[in-house]
């Protein structure tokens, strides 16, 4: 399982050093698990594993872009649940499910706009504003549903298809995930509009001193993150056939952890979509591996936290060494 120098350079060209490292760790874990558990390398398990993170990965995309711009969003779990609840309630009141979904996604964008307003115009910190939004959105979910899941048995098959259907052998949810990831990775790497996100997050003042309207950038990345939560919520609803007001509690931690393991920094200016998705894959792989190996669920959280700390510590020393090396 040693990679040749050529393979490695190909990988490095495709991804950065961070992504390459993550790919190697994931491959290693993959190979070990193939030997450790007979159930691991089966189509059913692969499909289940991919499905498990594919929808959350859409939220990871939004969070990563927001982190790069220097922001953070703690409300992603609640807002995802709220999208489900809004679309579900509208559907139960006779609205076409597609229209209901668009309204729900627009509502999430609206929540993002409110957060963005408080951050950029009022001048509060993302952390505290989204903490408030997290609690309020969760409260709205419970208020709208009385705390009980909404059974949406009447959802048409054509709608449920986005959650449980397949194109050939590939589940639609995974197709959507791949499209979102590839599209945003390209946008972030190659377009001028998203380059401004890196400038703003790297040094907001220097960005302003480069003529960049930084408040607008931060506002829009905030709205984008909430909007992608809305999209994820709708896919979940189609998959579950119900709207669950308590869905996504603690999701923000998982999502932020994935982005940070993938190279994003809480101080902004750093991170890639591919890296963050690899982070999400790693976390998901570890979880399902531990489950297959019959490790207690309680251990899973401990191990996930440890991976996060290890990744951040590694990063910290890498950055310090870079800075010190460059001075010479």
């Amino acid at each position: 399982m040693n990679m040749t120098a050529q393979d490695r350079s190909l990988l490095s060209r495709l991804f950065g050093a961070r992504e390459t490292g993550l790919v190697l760790i994931i491959l290693t874990l993959f190979i070990i698990m193939s030997f450790a558990s007979p159930h691991f390398l089966t189509w059913t398990n692969m499909r289940a594993m991919t499905m498990a993170f594919s929808v959350e990965a859409i939220v990871v995309v939004g969070m990563t872009i927001l982190l790069i711009s220097g922001g953070i969003d703690l409300s992603v779990g609640s807002v995802t649940a709220l999208a489900m609840v809004i679309a579900g309630l509208l559907f139960l009141n006779g609205v076409n499910p597609w229209v209901a979904s668009l309204i729900a996604i627009a509502a999430c964008a609206g929540i993002g706009a409110v957060i963005g307003f408080f951050v950029t115009f009022v001048g509060l910190h993302h952390f505290i504003v989204t903490l408030g939004a997290m609690v309020i959105a969760r409260g709205l979910c419970l208020l709208g549903t009385g705390g009980r899941p909404l059974g949406l048995f009447e959802l048409p098959e054509s709608f449920k298809w986005i959650g449980i259907g397949s194109i050939g052998v590939i589940p639609v949810a995974i197709v959507i995930f791949v499209i979102v990831v590839v599209a945003f990775d390209f946008l972030l790497r190659r377009t001028t509009a998203f380059r401004l996100v890196y400038y703003t997050g790297s040094n907001e003042k220097a960005a302003a001193y480069s003529g960049i309207r930084t408040k607008r950038v931060i506002f829009l990345t905030t709205v984008l993150c909430s909007t992608l939560c809305g999209v994820a919520g709708i896919i979940y609803m189609a998959r579950f056939g119900s709207a669950q007001p308590t869905f996504g509690v603690g999701m923000e931690l998982n999502v932020i952890a994935a982005a940070v393991i993938g190279g994003a920094s809480l101080s902004g200016g750093k991170g890639t979509i591919f890296g963050a998705i690899l982070g999400a894959i790693l976390l998901s792989l570890v979880s399902s591996s531990l489950a297959l190996l019959n490790v207690s669920v309680y251990w899973q959280d401990i191990i996930r936290g440890t991976i996060l700390l290890a990744a951040v510590t590694f990063d910290h020393y890498l950055v310090k060494r870079q800075a010190a090396g460059g001075r010479a």
Partner: protein, 511 residues
């Protein structure tokens, strides 16, 4: 003669470097008990470095410090405090949200063994310390006071420390004349009780009216120490600035300067009033002035980076409306920040990304898709023209030396092919070689028709580089100097009015 007691404080042969910059070469200072000793020198002469060494904020590379004849090592401000050294910094560092009284006794609180903050007692004691200085209610939060009141609180804070050595760094910069007089009264009282006071100031009148001795520093070296009654203000100014300008600078404009590129008329904002100037093709225009006089603010006002300046700006004779800095960039007016690391560069992004930041459309094709090849090519092209030394344009800027970082900051502006370029401290923190290169680049730009305006605190740079220098004082343009009139003494005279010119008139040696 009887044998004098050892001086209260004595520093000898102090050297201190920051990377390649030698801030102090031969720092020497002697303070006697009971004297007020002025320390004078230009910005960058090494005064602050020397004082920070006394206060334990910085450690000298070599040299010795004696207090009462005993060698001491001052490794932290806490040690300095223990030795009886109090330092009132130029920058105000109060906690805005807590009361004046709590601010005054902050150090005492940190060291006290008592677990609870004092209440009425603390306020009464604060009131007692403040009484001779000003009528300030010690219960108010410090943030609610005016700048001059805050400065007085800073002084009160130092007075409570029971110190024997008191350093005051330009304490009167923010004070009114009346407040300053009160302060001098207190200083004389303290000195009479045996305290030694180091008084840093640009203002000759204050030095000659209130101080017993004066030490002049220049280029990190001790130049002279005299009793104020033995010398004239002119002697001090000459010692501060007297230096031959060498041929480190590129040749100046010969012949006629070209037509106006940029003209600014009656630019007014909070920090400056009625500023008018014109920048011509072929010349380098300098802005001189003391720190805080408004030089940088004017440049940032024209470029819409700061404040809401009123006034007229014309580019090639045509009035232009500039809404924000993005607008300025689009019209070709750019600004190089004085704080390269704080707001000039994206340190952790690549050199190429930094150079592209002002106008991404130059490296992008249809639909705003960035072409990495064009991005690298642009960085290499401009980098080569500036002799930028970097292994790869993909490396982060943080890996470069100060001089090369500054070239990236400059390249970032040149990438948009500007028509007018304001440079704020273009060679700060840059070693001598890169400095000369940057000066050469600026002269080349002026020669090629770009309007070049340089703001600098280094007078040799202004005199060596610029064809014409505007001196800014207290938010106004105090005068214009060029040709043979462009001397350090003339700049100083215009830059520090009232104080300096008053003293000059007194001594009768200068116009």
């Amino acid at each position: 003669m009887t044998t004098a007691p050892p001086p209260l404080l004595e520093l000898a042969d102090i050297a201190k470097s920051f990377g390649a910059v030698r801030a102090l070469r031969n720092g020497r200072f002697e303070l006697r008990a009971g004297e007020i000793h002025a320390l004078a020198g230009e910005n960058g002469a090494g005064k602050s470095t020397l004082m920070n060494i006394i206060d334990g904020i910085l450690q000298p590379d070599s040299g010795s410090i004696h207090i009462d004849g005993q060698p001491v090592r001052i490794d932290s401000p806490a040690t300095a405090q223990g030795l009886g050294i109090g330092f009132v910094h130029q920058e105000i560092a109060l906690c805005a949200d807590i009361s004046v009284a709590e601010n005054i006794f902050m150090a005492e609180t940190a060291q006290s063994r008592r677990r609870l903050m004092g209440g009425a007692d603390l306020i009464a004691r604060a009131a007692k310390v403040l009484a001779p200085l000003a009528a300030i209610d010690p219960r108010l939060p410090a943030g609610s006071l005016s700048i001059s009141q805050q400065q007085l609180v800073e002084i009160a804070k130092a007075l409570t420390l029971d110190c024997r050595i008191l350093i005051l760094d330009e304490p009167t910069a923010a004070l009114t004349g009346h407040e300053a007089q009160k302060l001098f009264g207190i200083m004389r009282n303290l000195a009479a009780r045996g305290m030694g006071i180091i008084y840093i100031s640009h203002r000759m009148a204050e030095i000659f009216q209130n101080c017993d001795r004066v030490t002049v520093m220049r280029d990190g070296q001790h130049i002279r120490t005299d009793r104020t009654r033995d010398i004239t203000p002119a002697d001090v100014v000459n010692a501060m600035v007297g230096r031959q300008i060498d041929a480190l600078y590129p040749a100046k404009l010969t012949g006629q300067r070209g037509p106006e590129i940029l003209s600014v008329t009656k630019l007014t904002d909070r920090r400056y009033q009625d500023v008018s100037f014109a920048l011509h093709r072929g010349e380098i225009l300098g802005f001189a002035g003391l720190i805080g006089a408004g030089r940088s603010e004017i440049a940032r006002g024209v470029t819409r980076l700061e404040g809401k300046a009123r006034g007229e700006v014309r580019l090639y004779g045509e009035a232009v409306t500039l809404r924000d800095y993005a607008d300025c960039i689009a019209k070709g007016i750019v600004y190089l920040s004085e704080d390269r690391k704080g707001d000039g560069l994206f340190l952790d992004l690549s050199i190429a990304a930094n150079i592209a930041a002002l106008d991404l459309s130059r490296i992008a094709g249809r639909g705003g898709v960035i072409d990495p090849a064009r991005e690298t090519e642009q960085a290499q092209r401009i980098g080569t023209s500036l002799k930028l030394k970097a292994a790869s344009m993909a490396h982060p800027v943080v890996s470069l030396s100060g001089g090369n970082q500054q070239k990236v900051a400059l390249a970032k502006l040149l990438a948009v092919e500007p028509k007018v370029i304001f440079l704020d401290e273009p060679t700060r923190g840059v070693d001598v070689g890169a400095k000369a290169e940057i000066h050469g680049i600026l002269r080349g730009l002026a020669h090629s028709g770009v309007g070049v305006a340089v703001i600098s605190s280094e007078m040799p740079e202004l005199i060596g580089l610029c064809d014409r220098v505007l001196v800014v004082s207290e938010g106004r343009i105090a005068g214009e100097l060029s040709g043979a009139d462009l001397t350090e003494t003339n700049i100083m005279t215009l830059a520090a009015p009232g104080a300096l010119s008053g003293a000059m008139a007194l001594s009768g040696t200068l116009p």
